[in-house]
Symmetry: C2
Subunit: 228 residues, 2 copies
């Protein structure tokens, strides 16, 4: 910015909104809050004004911790929205983050001061302001990054089967995948470790559990970077 114009009086407020995505085994879901009853478009992403002593990352982390009460949740900056009329009550610029969590851990929404609910991305409720755009952009980002980065495992529990993983990718892409080719490709990345343990609920035969192997993932990232 221009150093010689610090005098500018902007009166613009800065908010942070978190698009928190989860996966219920069948569909991608987003965690929304309802702040005012009897309002038409009253669902919104989890958000807050940024505090003077915190960064936008701090604020996003604070919101996320409020929802999850966990550290080390995957989060990345998505986009900053600054349309003049995006909030009729005041001039508010919103820095939006995308977070991915394992939905199963948070079905009971403890410690959150609003009415909250998970909504399928295919069936969003009326949303306030430009929060629908935020959610669509979050979904688009996830679709893009899941190809190159080994992203998306954050949406599953620690242990998962190949069927779970395939369902997740199908939900993200919105189209069916060939089971054999999918498994082949995932295995070729070398980022999963098969456990000697089977999930027995969804089939007679039982399906092996896998865990995401973080160390191998780092190696994969380096290879990918070098290739470019």
């Amino acid at each position: 910015m221009e150093l010689n114009s610090y005098k500018t009086d902007q009166r613009i407020l800065i908010a942070v909104d978190c698009i928190i995505l989860g996966f219920d085994g069948e569909q991608l879901k987003v965690f929304l809050a309802q702040k005012e009853l009897n309002s038409a478009n009253n669902w919104s992403a989890i958000g807050s004004f940024i505090q003077p002593e915190e960064t936008s990352e701090d604020a996003a982390g604070r919101l996320l911790y409020q929802v999850t009460t966990k550290a080390n949740v995957y989060i990345e900056q998505l986009h900053t929205f600054s349309a003049l009329d995006r909030d009729p009550a005041a001039r508010v610029v919103s820095i939006v983050y995308l977070a991915l969590i394992n939905i199963a851990d948070y079905h009971e929404q403890v410690h959150f001061p609003h009415d909250t609910k998970w909504f399928s991305l295919n069936n969003l409720p009326p949303l306030m302001l430009d929060h629908r755009d935020m959610i669509l952009k979050a979904h688009a980002r996830l679709r893009e990054k899941v190809v190159t980065n080994a992203l998306g495992f954050e949406l599953l529990p620690k242990k998962f089967t190949m069927s779970h993983l395939k369902s997740l990718f199908e939900a993200i892409y919105g189209s069916p995948l060939d089971r054999r080719n999918f498994i082949k490709k995932i295995n070729s990345l070398g980022i999963l470790k098969r456990l000697n343990e089977k999930e027995k609920e969804s089939s007679r035969k039982g399906a092996f559990y896998y865990v995401f192997n973080n160390s191998k993932y780092v190696a994969f990232e380096r290879v990918d970077a070098k290739r470019k």
Copy 2:
């Protein structure tokens, strides 16, 4: 954000910075301004505080127009920086944009109130605040997007030869490319149109000029989107 806390008095200023990239035929360059003489780290990206009645896109466009005096310049939002200590003089959050221009059009820097200069990305001057991070992030974004999106043509003049284009991609990737394979790949995208006109300066034989075919590009984009 939370509607019930509009009272928050933040006193955080919002700036917009533009990382303007160009290509001089050999190297990627960034357009920087020097605002204060006799200061150690005194080069910076083109920036300004956001005005109360403009969006961040407006502000970025305004800055860009100041430099280029042209409309229709490629620009996209890059990242928002909000570290507490990023500007010692005040709490400033900066929304950063990435712009790509044809450097040849702007060697004489008209209408700009500061000392300005193009710097090679490989040889950056001392930069104020976190502007070095911004530039590195811009370069990274360009590297990522140039693969999937047919981006980067904005950095070349309307007419260019395959050698020019190859040099550009080599500068973006930072590594040499095989001429034959490169041309084959570019042609397979069907986004270029060969003119019946040759550039005769850099070789005896002369090299065909090409132009970027926007309509074909749109088709390419659609195909790509559907594939996902």
